[in-house]
């Protein structure tokens, strides 16, 4: 393989990191942790990945890709098909649209915005599932899931930042 082709492949691989990490985050939500009730309150890993990349590198996380990741998660988790796709699309679209006000701000500010986004996410998910299942669901689960997702942002962001620093310089 010639050097320019190698370089192009290398660049393409590096540019696919945001999408790849979002897919990995989606799969991480399916890991079978044998602890009581873990899966009911498991954090929304995909939301963390999509939020971070939407702030840092929206050019490498197209909304069509976000939509496909949402469909992938719906299919794999047995959720109503299209629901996570729609919610991720709206969340990523909102963050990318407001990026000028978010990007470059302090970490607590980024966390605060994520907190607001997650509150809306959990509320919409709870409401949509209550409508689709035809009864008012226990909001306690959504509250726990919110706390887990919100609390995990610094860890998730640090991991994704390490990915960005190690493999995505100059791409």
């Amino acid at each position: 393989m010639s050097e320019p082709i190698q370089r192009a492949v290398d660049r393409a691989v590096r540019r696919s990191f945001p999408m790849a990490t979002a897919v990995v985050a989606s799969l991480a939500g399916l890991i079978d942790v044998p602890a009581a009730e873990y899966n009911r309150i498991a954090p929304a890993f995909t939301l963390i990945a999509v939020y971070c990349w939407s702030v840092w590198r929206p050019d490498l996380l197209p909304l069509s890709g976000v939509f496909l990741i949402g469909l992938f998660e719906d299919l794999l988790r047995g959720l109503p098909l299209g629901l996570t796709a729609l919610m991720l699309l709206v969340a990523a679209g909102f963050v990318q649209h407001q990026r000028a006000y978010i990007f470059g701000r302090s970490n607590p500010f980024l966390w605060l915005v994520f907190g607001l986004l997650t509150v809306s996410w959990m509320a919409v998910e709870w409401l949509a599932m209550s409508i689709l299942l035809g009864q008012i669901l226990d909001p306690e689960v959504a509250a726990f899931r919110y706390a887990a997702t919100f609390g995990l942002l610094p860890v998730g962001a640090a991991l994704l930042l390490a990915v960005q620093r190690s493999g995505m310089q100059n791409v």
């Binding site: 799969l27 991480a28 399916l30 890991i31 079978d32 942790v33 044998p34 602890a35 009581a36 009730e37 899966n39 009911r40 309150i41 498991a42 702030v55 840092w56 909304l63 069509s64 939509f67 949402g70 469909l71 992938f72 299919l75 794999l76 988790r77 047995g78 959720l79 109503p80 098909l81 299209g82 629901l83 796709a85 729609l86 699309l89 709206v90 679209g93 000028a100 990007f103 470059g104 970490n107 980024l110 998910e125 599932m129 689709l132 299942l133 009864q135 669901l137 226990d138 689960v141 959504a142 899931r145 962001a157 930042l161 620093r165």
Partner: protein
């Protein structure tokens, strides 16, 4: 988040707003149009999925087949860690458990002595009632590949599919009792809807009194016993088993025990320990005896077809 990008952002804020070119406008409008299309597609998919179209079922099953090995491999260390913690028991706990098991063995010995008499009595009663309703069929053992449980959907993926003879509606059990039933079948994986899922409805009966009811999942830790006549007393601790009505599940599989009884609801705690669910058995059964009562051949054909399903 990092200094270089912060500096770049500050620099960008200082720049004058650039007038968009025609190409830029076209790109923006295309992007907006694509977003609208995706929103509409998502809405349409939600509606299609609600009617349980076979195409979405097949897509789910296919994707589960594809990713099941990956998920199983990633989950393996977590299971190993859980087993390690299980093994880490104190002497006192082991002694206590040993005493408990000895008591259980004594109790079972007594019960075992009564078994031949009970079997004989059962046979005679069946002959009198001319029920002829018995469970036959084969069992397939499968590993739990992924726990796809979530806050709103309670299901899991097991490593057996159509290639192993699994079909929709089959009962999934383990040593404790009923786990759920198969709702999606791939080539080598299947999705199990757990008994605690909100969409789960199981015809059951109280093991002692034979009182029939419907057990509904709540997505929570306990299930709700519905359609119990108001004048009937149900006590906490009563065993609930499948009644076999509707021909969906075999009769007599333990499901749970009555946990609490109030004026508004009878709540049942499942017997299965969800956090220790590693292997399950999938029951392919057929019900015979109903066939003779059918005036035409319709039911015979239906039941026969089910019995022939591998």
């Amino acid at each position: 988040m990092f200094r270089k990008q912060r500096r770049e952002a500050r620099r960008r804020r200082g720049r004058p707003i650039r007038q968009g070119s025609l190409l830029e406008d076209v790109r923006v409008w295309t992007r907006r149009f694509a977003v609208i299309v995706m929103v509409l597609v998502a809405g349409a998919l939600i509606v299609i999925d609600r009617v349980e179209a076979p195409v979405t079922r097949d897509m789910r099953a296919g994707l589960a087949d594809l990713f099941a090995p990956v998920i199983a491999a990633v989950s393996a260390p977590f299971h190993a860690a859980a087993e390690w913690f299980d093994a880490f028991e104190s002497n006192a706990t082991v002694r206590e458990r040993n005493a408990e098991l000895q008591r259980e063995v004594e109790r079972l010995r007594v019960a075992l002595q009564q078994l031949p008499a009970l079997e004989d009595e059962n046979r005679r009663l069946r002959a009198i009632a001319n029920a002829g309703n018995r469970i036959k069929g084969r069992h397939v053992t499968a590993t739990v590949v992924a726990d796809t449980d979530g806050p709103y959907v309670r299901s899991l993926l097991v490593g057996a599919g159509s290639a192993e003879g699994i079909g929709r509606g089959m009962a999934v059990i383990n040593g404790d009792g009923l786990v759920g039933r198969i709702v999606e079948v791939g080539s080598h994986t299947s999705r199990v809807l757990l008994v605690t899922d909100l969409n789960s409805r199981i015809p059951v009966q109280l093991a002692e009194s034979g009182l029939r009811a419907l057990l509904a999942g709540t997505n929570g830790r306990r299930m709700r016993l519905n359609y119990v006549p108001p004048n009937v007393s149900v006590s906490a601790g009563a065993l609930i088993v499948t009644s076999g009505h509707g021909g969906v599940l075999p009769r007599g599989i333990p499901v749970g025990r009555v946990d609490s009884v109030s004026r508004h609801a009878i709540l049942v705690r499942p017997l299965v320990n969800w956090s220790r669910l590693t292997f399950v058995r999938i029951v392919n059964y057929s019900t015979t005896g109903l066939v003779q009562d059918s005036p035409d051949g319709t039911l015979r054909r239906e039941v026969g077809r089910r019995a022939e399903t591998p």
